[in-house]
């Protein structure tokens, strides 16, 4: 199957007063229809900036190079006016805090209908009808009544649903969700994840889930891409990365996650702090925190290399990844 989105050699840099900071380096990945890709990493890993760049939403001092191919169209470097033809129609993005993305002074129905009038050239009446229908599909009770509400009159979970409904109005090929459940309570989060699962099977939407929560990833993602210091350090299926991680950082994230089923005596956290992008360590950016490092890691950056079927890792260490094996 062909990729609905193919990202090649994506670099994102930010101009600062005296210097330039590289937030994303040489990112490559493909996304197929109906699949869910989880992009996992901690703050500063570049996971959000990579997708803001693809959506043309970088801050003014940001610059993206490389290619982001939506079919045979390159989204990167496209003028905003032209980009608007694709954003919202073929590719949509939702954010952690729905309140900052919804217009507080417009009723829900007005905001939703606008999308359809703009992209599908619906008349107002038809657009409102379609909007209410979509609100119902994302699980909003009494959609006709809620459509008349202003965003502040809705709860956090409802607002997030409105955001998702808005993103789905044009049945986009790709939905990018940046920490969509982080601000929600666990019971509402479970409802949202259920909604995401239905959405990919029902509409064939490809979903990119940007998150730091491995629990969320395990429940919905088909494939994973782990990012560290602006680079992809491991890629593969969710099962492969969870049950047989090959990069020490992936292993470290798994060991840092507390499990509700059992009370472990201690967690095995990764030591130290995530690096500042302005002062990335030499060689492998993870080496100062890595339990498996050796001389090569200090000086040479490991490339992201294929290791078998649809898997890749960027790490020099070839031995088995078990904490008992290292001092």
């Amino acid at each position: 199957m062909e990729d609905v989105l193919r990202v090649e050699n994506l670099d994102v840099t930010f101009e600062l007063h005296q210097s330039e900071v590289r937030a994303v380096s040489d990112l490559n990945f493909g996304l197929k229809a109906g699949e869910t890709l989880a992009v996992v990493g901690e703050s500063g890993s570049g996971k959000s900036q990579a997708f803001l760049a693809i959506m043309g939403l970088l801050a003014k001092n940001g610059r993206a190079t490389g290619r982001a191919m939506l079919g045979d169209v390159n989204l990167l470097g496209m003028p905003h006016r032209q980009l608007d033809e694709y954003r919202g129609r073929d590719i949509a993005m939702i954010f952690q805090d729905p309140m900052t993305s919804l217009n507080p002074s417009l009723k829900v129905r007005t905001q939703l209908a606008e999308v359809l009038v703009r992209h599908q050239h619906f008349d107002q009446q038809k657009a409102v009808r379609a909007a209410i229908e979509m609100l119902e599909r994302v699980g909003i009770p009494e959609p006709a009544r809620r459509a008349n509400a202003y965003p502040h009159e809705l709860s956090g979970g409802m607002r997030q649903r409105v955001m998702i409904a808005m993103a789905l109005l044009c049945r986009p090929k790709i939905l990018i969700a940046d920490e969509p459940t982080t601000a929600l309570d666990v019971t509402v989060q479970a409802q949202m994840l259920d909604l995401f699962r239905n959405l990919t099977t029902e509409f064939g939407t490809a979903l990119v889930l940007i998150t730091h929560d491995l629990g969320v990833v395990a429940g919905v993602a088909d494939r994973m891409m782990v990012m560290y210091g602006g680079r992809s350090v491991e890629k593969g299926t969710t099962d492969d990365l969870f049950y047989d991680p090959r990069h020490p950082y992936t292993l470290g994230l798994l060991h840092s996650t507390p499990h509700v089923e059992k009370r472990a005596q201690r967690l095995d956290p990764i030591q130290g702090l995530p690096p500042s992008l302005e002062h990335l360590p030499s060689g492998c950016a993870f080496h100062p925190r890595c339990a498996f490092r050796f001389e090569q890691c200090f000086s040479e950056r490991p490339p992201l290399a294929e290791i078998g079927d649809r898997r890749a890792k960027a790490c020099w260490y070839e031995g088995p990844l078990k904490y008992e094996d290292v001092a």
């Binding site: 901690e42 703050s43 009770p141 709860s155 956090g156 979970g157 409802m158 309570d185 666990v186 019971t187 509402v188 989060q189 479970a190 409802q191 994840l193 259920d194 730091h212 929560d213 491995l214 629990g215 969320v216 990833v217 395990a218 429940g219 969710t238 099962d239 969870f242 049950y243 470290g252 994230l253 798994l254 060991h255 840092s256 996650t257 507390p258 499990h259 509700v260 089923e261 009370r263 472990a264 201690r266 967690l267 095995d268 956290p269 990764i270 030591q271 702090l273 995530p274």
Partner: protein, 332 residues
């Protein structure tokens, strides 16, 4: 183990101005809360946003004054203590907040922030002695002593939380209320702070009250867990009992909603999805407040409020049907 803290029939109401000329609305944030904390244990408090968990933590420390009920700390009712006596008692009872940077004064150096409680509570200490204690505590929480003259903005979230912990520890407290202490932190840092809290608890013989919406985290740190729903206790039990054999339908729903970081099990799992969201505490449902989202609700649940009943050793549950329901999780 003996009880170090006992909360008896604690109720907290807030009154809210609905509009300039409309009458004030009363909101009951906590209603008739009773439980005790044993010396040296970690009691977890979980619930969704708006359930009153942070209000409870603040009522225990008398940062908020409860409207009814008693907070008995080592035999003494804190709600009756005059201001000055309560201030001295605060040496024993400390708090750590969620947002580490927001809870640190940006104009003070790290050393000044950590020493601040000593200035008010132990004014007799000499500057050199204060400094020695600050350095000792910085080392205990994993901060380098040479950072003593730096300002909070120079620190990352995880390090800022270590400063918050050091500030709480400096008075040599017996109990610390941890209010969402790791929720704002990255996963790897979260694990470091959880381990640190466990070490410090051991080292200083602390009793912890750990408030969080994250069930996995609470389960990891707690000996016993208290589940709050809309200002009332739904269930209280040991962590093991609660997970293996939840007795309240709300506890069960919370447990099945927690994401499991294990793809195969996550796929197999049946989520006991709750419909809707937590109702407004301004106008709570009659009878059992959980009944509007409970799939086991019967007529009785709308009429009568369930009492918090003994349900085996060391556990209590507030549900009319707890004896007849089979709630144990299949995959637990």
């Amino acid at each position: 183990m003996s009880d170090i803290l006992t909360i008896e029939n604690l109720t907290k109401r807030f009154s809210i101005a609905a509009g300039l000329f409309s009458p004030r609305i009363h909101l009951t944030a906590l209603e008739d809360i009773s439980f005790s904390v044993k010396k040296g244990e970690t009691l977890g408090i979980v619930g969704e946003s708006g359930c009153g968990k942070s209000t409870l933590g603040r009522c225990i420390l008398q940062l908020l004054n409860p409207d009814e009920g008693r907070v008995v700390w080592m035999g003494e009712d804190l709600t009756k203590l005059p201001g000055e006596a309560m201030r001295r008692r605060r040496q024993d009872l400390q708090i750590i907040f969620q947002d580490p940077l927001a809870s640190l004064n940006p104009r003070l150096t790290v050393g000044e922030i950590i020493a601040d409680p000593l200035r008010t509570l132990r004014p007799e200490l000499k500057a050199a002695e204060r400094r020695a204690r600050v350095i000792k505590i910085m080392e205990a929480v994993g901060l380098l002593p040479e950072m003593i003259n730096r300002y909070p903005h120079e620190f990352s979230g995880g390090q800022a939380q270590r400063i918050g912990i050091a500030r709480a520890l400096i008075t040599e407290p017996k109990l610390i209320v941890c209010d969402e202490p790791v929720s704002a932190l990255d996963v790897s840092i979260q694990a470091q702070i959880l381990n640190l809290l466990a070490d410090l608890k051991e080292q200083f013989g602390l009793t912890l009250i750990f408030i969080s919406h994250n069930l996995s985290v609470v389960r990891h740190v707690s000996d016993r867990i208290l589940v709050l729903y809309l200002g009332r206790i739904a269930e209280i039990a040991s962590g093991d009992d609660l997970y293996r054999d939840p007795r309240h339908p709300y506890t069960r729903a919370l447990l099945t909603a927690v994401p499991i970081a294990d793809p195969k099990r996550a796929r197999q799992r049946n989520i006991d999805a709750l419909v809707g969201e937590i109702p407004s505490p301004i106008n709570p449902p009659s009878g059992c407040t959980f009944r509007t989202r409970c799939r086991f609700a019967i007529g009785l649940c709308a009429k009568e409020r369930p009492l918090l009943e003994e349900a085996g050793t060391g556990r209590r549950v507030a549900c009319h049907r707890w004896k007849e329901l089979e709630l144990a999780l299949a995959d637990a």
